[in-house]
Symmetry: D4
Subunit: 205 residues, 8 copies
C-alpha cells in the first residue's frame, strides 16, 4: 500500500493548546523550565505567524492547576477559550470539539501538559474521528522521559505524527521566500544559536 | 483501516499485579527505589479507588524471590491471590487465567517485575487470546533501560498500549466531577509536586 | 597539622530546616519529587528519633513561596518556628540565631531549599561564628546539578562537612544496640530496598 | 488480523553467535566491558543449558578483528564454527546458512558485534526467508546508543522480536520446576543481585 | 505478507547530502562537534569509495546559514550542486528532484542538517513517490535527542529504514574481498578504535 | 585559622562580562542555548538592578568570534567597553584592569565564554592581585562538562568562590524588603517556575 | 610547605573490606551490579597477589544485612574476620582496631558498603589517629552519585587519597618486571578489554 | 598567604605524553574515541606550535599495550622517546626523569593513558620534586568518570593544576597578535565549531 505524505498545510491546520497552566507546569520534568517555556511560546508564535486558528482550553483553572500562562492568553485574545468544567479529555467537552470542527480544518497540531493525558487523550479521540494529528513533542511536557516515551509510542502507533515546533514551522512555511524577515524573526527569537548566526552575518553585511 | 480508540473503561478493566516481591525488587534498576515504590502503590490505589477487580500473583515466594510487598497484600485482602508453583508466565497458570476470565472483563491493566518477563509474557499470551492489554510502564521494573526498551517494543508491536499510572487513572476517571476529592487525594498522595499545588492553593482559599 | 574527626554527637547537634515550602519546592530540579520528599522526611524522622533540637524557618510563606510542607510542621509542633519577614539569609534574622544559640549546641545539621542560597548563606555565616556545620546534601535541593555543585564546593571550601541523611543518622546512632528496632524502622520507612531486606528476612525467621 | 504469540520453544530454537571477536569487542561502547562480557556469556550458558544447537561464526579472525573470545570457543567445542572468508553478512555465507538449515529449526536467537551490521544483516536476510528472529539486544553491542537504536528499529520494523538474555532464558524454561537448581545456577552466576538473594535465603534455611 | 529485505545495492543507490552548512551546523546539539564532523565525512568517503552518484544541496548559503562545509565541496567537485533559492524541503526544488531522477536509481541514502526538517521532509516526499529511503541517523543532526527521536519515528513509520554510516558502508560493500585495503582504509580513517586494531595487528605481522 | 565569610556587598562589587560574543557562543556546549542565554541575561539584569558598575570586554569582535550579544550592549550603554586588540587574558589589557580599579571595588563578579580561558585567566590574575573573585558558573560556558569541572577546580583551589546568578542576586539583595517588587520581577523574568508561582498566587489574591 | 608523595608500599599496606554483605549490596545503586562485583573481587585479588594483610568485618550478618559475599570469605580463609555486634563505625570496635594495629602497617586501603558510612566513618577515625588512608572508590558503593560525591569530598578534605582498584594495584606493583604473568593475569581477569588485548596479542605471537 | 598565579610560560614548559598506545587506548571509556583522538592530537599540535620540548614514553610497547599512536611518533621524530622496560610510573625511569631535567624547565604539561596511573603517578612524583604540574584532563583517558574524578581529585589536592588542551594553548599564546594565522589554524583544525565560524566569516570578507 503506497505511502501518502500527509503534510502540514497552513490552510488546513488548527492549533490546540491544552492545559498549559501555571500549576500544572510545575509537574513538567522532562524539559528544563527555560527550554519548555521557550518551546511553548515558539509554537504559539508560529500559530500566530501563519494565522492558524488556535484553540485554548484549560482544566479547573480556579483550583490548584492554576491559570493559563499569561503569554498564551495575551497572544490569542480572540481565540476560542474553553475552560473545561471537569472533563479530563478535552475531546469529551462538546464546546472544544465544536470549536475544532467549526474551523473546518482536518489537521490538528496539538501540544499540552501533561503529554500522557492532556495531549494523548484528545489525540486518540481525534484520530478515531478521522482527523490528522501532529503532536508537538517539545511543546508538550510530563513527569519524566519514561512516561513521555510511552505516551508518544501510544500516539504514534495510533497514527499520529510526532513533530517539534521547528519542523511544524518549516513544514507550514514551505519556502523562505514567502516571508524571509518574518520567519527569520521567529527563529531568531526562539533559537539563540540562530540569533547568533543572524547577528554575526549582519555585522559583516 | 480506521483507527479505533480502545479506551480504558472502569467497568471493563481488571488490574494484574505480577511478582512485586521483596526479593525480585532488588533486581529493578531502571527506576530508583523511591520512585518505583511510589509508582506501584499509586497504581494500587487507583485500582482500589475505581473498585477494579485486581489479581495478585507471585513466583516462588518462599524462596529467594521473597514475599509479596506487604502494602499490596494489605490493600487487596480479598483479591484473588495466586502463588504460582513454577510457571514463569503467569498466563501458563490455569488459576490465574481463570481468575482473569472470571471477571468477565476484556481490558487488562498489567504491571510487574521484571518487565521483560513477568509483564511481557502474560501480555503476549493475553493479546493472543484477544484481550486488550494496557502496560503500566512506570509500575513495571527491570534490569536497565536497554532491557526495558526492548521489552516495551516487543509488547507495543504485538498490540499492547503503553501507559503509566497517572494516565491510567485519568483515563478511568474521565471527569473530575465524578469525585474531585477522591481523585485529588490520590494525586496528592503520590505526586509530591501536585500535593504542593494543593497546599499552596488551600492556603489562599 | 593533625586532623581531628569532628563527629556528629547527638548531645551537641541541632537540626536546621530552612525554607522547605510548597512553592519553593517546585524550583527543585536536581532530585525527582519522590526522592526529595523522601529525603527531607527521612532527615526529619532522624531529628525526631534522636530528640535533636530542631528549628524551622520560612521565607515569606504568605506569598508565592507558599507554606511550609505540612509534614514538617506536624512533626515538630513545639519547635521554634521563625517565619522571616524578609531576610534571605536566615542567619541575618536575630530570632533564628537566638534560637540556635539557645540550644547551646555547636554542631549544626542543615538542609533547605534552595541549596545555593537558603543553605549556603546561613552555613557560611555560622562557620564564621565558629559553629561546625554539616550540610545534608540530599535533603537540600536547587535548580540543577551545576548550581548544586558550585554551592557545595563553596561550603566545603569554607569548612562545612558534606553529608546525607543516611550518614547523619548512622553517625548519630553509633551503635545499633542503642535501639535496633527504632533505627531499623527509620531505615525501613525511607529506604524501600532496606524494607525489602527486612521483609525477606522476617519471612524466614 | 489476530496476533499470534510467537514464543521461543527449546525444541525449535537455534542460537547464532556472530563475530564476538577480541578485536571487534573494542568497538563496543553502548555497554561497559564488564556488563557486555557478562551478557554474552549468560546467553552462551543459556544455549548450553537448553542444549540448543549453536552456531559460531567470525569475520577475518586472523586480521585485526582478532580471534573469537576463548570462553565461547571453549563452551561449544563441537558446534559448527564458520570463519567467513569475507562475507560481511553471515547469511551470504552458504556454510553458515546450511548450518542453520541443517538444524531444522525455525526460531533464530541471534547476538553479535556490531549490532547494526553483524546482527542486523543476517536478521533481515533470515526474516526474508521466513525464519522467526529473536534479537538478544544486550548480548549485541555497537558504537553508541544512537546507532543501536536505529539498528533495533530497523530489525523490529522488519518483524524481529527484541529480547534480552534473561527473557530468552525464561521464555525457553517456561516452568521453574523443569530444573530449579540448574536454572537458578545460571541466574546466580550472571546476576549478582540474584546471587545475593540466593545467598541471603540460604543463610536462613 | 512476506517481508522483503530491501538491501542497499551500490548500483542502485544515490547519496543526498542536505544542508551541511557552516552556520546550520552550530544548531546541531545531539552529537558533539567532533563526532558529527567525523560521521559526515565518513559517509562522504563511503559515497566516494563506491562511486555512488552524490547530490549536494544547500539552503540560502549566502545568508546566516553559511556555506557548505568545504570538505564536502572538495570531495565532490563534479557532483550536482543545488543551492535552493528558498524551498525548505529539497524535494520541492525541481532541480534537486531532477538530479535524483537523472541517476535512475531508486535507493536514496540521505543525511542532513537538521534531521527533523532537511532530512525528514525530502524523505517523506521521496517515499510518497516510491523511492526507498535509507536515513543515515548519525550523519544527520538536530537540536536535541527529543527532536531527533520524534523525527526518526516519523520517518520510520512512513517506511524509511534507519541506518548509520558504518552499516551503510558494510551493506554496500558486502564482501571484504571486494577491496580489503580500500574499505579498511575508510574504517581506519574514521574509527579510531579500528585504527588502533590495525596498528597493533601490523606491528606483529 | 578562623574562616571569614567574604560576602557579596552591593557597594563593593563590580561585574565583569567577558567575551559573550555571537560567534564564541556557538562553542558553548555545557548548557543548552536557551538556558545559557537566560542565565547570562539574568546576571545582567541583576547587575543593572543593583546598579553595580559593569565592565564589558570582547576579543576580536570583528573576526569570527563575532560581535557582543546585542542585549548586553543595550543594557549597559554607558559601561566601560573594552574591545581587546589581542590579549586573551583580559587582565593583560591595561584598559580593562584600569576600568576595574577605577571602580575602587574589591569584589569581582565574573562570567564569560569560555570558562576555562576567558573566565579562568582573569580570575587567577585578579586573585593574585588580592581581589575577591566570585565566579558565576551558570553564566559561563565552555566545550563540555569535563573542561568546565577542571576550570572550576583550578579557580576554586586558587581561592575564587563558585556561585550562580541566583545566589549572586540573593547575596546582594540580603532582604526582600529592600525592594520586593523589583527583585521579584527579576526572578519572575528569568525563572519560569517562579513566574508560575507568582501567577498562581496572584490569581488567588 | 613541600608536598610529599605518600605512595602505596606493599610492605606497609593493609586492606580493609567493610560490610560487603549480600543484603547491603542491594542498596548499592551508583554502580551496576556487574561492575561492582568485578571491582570488589579485583581489589580482593590484588590484596591476595601482594600478600597484603587483609581484614574483613561485617555488621549484623545474621540479620537483614545478610552474610558476607562468599567469594571474599573464600579468598581470605585465615584473615581476621570481625563480625561487629553493633558498632556502625568499624573503628569503634576494639577487635577491628587491634587487628589493624597488629599488622604494624600505616597505609590503610579501604573499601566497603555503603561509602558514606561504612567507608567514611573508619576512614575519618583512622586519619585522626595518624594512619594514611587510601579509599578505593570503585570498590565502594552507595545509594546514588550525590551521596557518593558528598562522602568522597568529606574524606578527601580530611586527607584521604581517592583511588580505584586499578591504580592501587599499579602503585603497589611499581614495575611489571616484578611479575609480568601474575599481574597481567589479574588485569586480564578483571578488565575484559585488557583480556582482549592479551588474546589478540597472543594469537599473533 | 597570598596566592600566586603559576601561569604557563612557553619558555619554561615541557610536554610529557605518557603511554598513548594503540592497545591501551581501547581501555579509555570516559571519552568517545573521536573526541579523545582529537584532544590528544590538539595537544600535540600545540606542543609543536610553541616549540615546546616534548617527551614521549611508552610501557611495554611490544606487548599487548601496543605501539605508540603513529601520529604522535610522526609529529615528534626527534623528541626523546623512552620505551620503559617495566616501570609503571614513568618517573621511576631514570632516562625519563633525566630527559625532563635536561630541558631545564619547571612547568610540566602532562597527559596520558590511563589518567589514574600513567598520569597520576608521575604527576605526584614530580610535584614532590618541586615541579609545577599542569594536567591536561581532556587528553588523558581512563576507564570511567568515577575513576577519572578520583584521580583528578588526588592530583589537585597534591597541588597540580587541572586544565584542558584549549586553555593550555591559550595560556601559552597570551596574545593573538603573536601569530593570528598560526594559532587560528590550530583551533580551526581541532574545533569543528570554530572552523565553521572561520568559514562563515571568510565567506563574507
Amino acid at each position: 500500500m503506497a505511502y501518502r505524505y500527509n503534510r502540514l498545510d497552513k490552510d488546513n491546520a488548527v492549533v490546540l493548546l491544552v492545559d498549559h497552566q501555571a500549576g500544572l507546569l510545575s509537574l513538567v520534568r522532562d524539559f528544563t523550565p527555560d527550554e519548555f517555556k521557550n518551546n511553548v511560546l515558539a509554537l504559539a508564535d508560529i500559530a500566530k505567524f501563519f494565522n492558524l486558528p488556535t484553540i485554548l482550553t484549560t482544566s479547573f483553572e480556579n483550583g490548584p492547576n492554576g491559570p493559563i500562562v499569561p503569554e498564551l492568553k495575551a497572544l490569542f485574545p480572540d481565540a476560542p477559550y474553553i475552560p473545561r468544567p471537569g472533563q479530563i479529555n478535552a475531546w469529551d467537552n462538546a464546546d472544544f470539539v465544536d470549536a475544532v470542527k467549526a474551523t473546518g480544518r482536518k489537521q490538528l497540531i496539538i501540544a499540552g501538559v501533561v503529554t500522557d493525558v492532556c495531549v494523548a487523550f484528545p489525540t486518540l479521540s481525534a484520530l478515531e474521528e478521522g482527523f490528522d494529528v501532529f503532536v508537538v513533542t517539545d511543546a508538550s511536557g510530563t513527569f519524566n522521559p519514561v512516561v513521555r516515551d510511552a505516551a508518544l509510542d501510544r500516539m504514534s502507533q495510533a497514527g499520529a505524527q510526532l513533530m517539534n515546533w521547528f519542523s511544524v514551522g518549516c513544514e507550514l512555511h514551505r519556502d523562505w521566500r514567502n516571508d524571509i524577515e518574518g520567519f527569520g524573526g521567529i527563529l531568531g527569537g526562539h533559537l539563540p544559536a540562530y540569533a547568533n548566526l543572524i547577528q554575526s552575518y549582519s555585522q559583516k553585511s
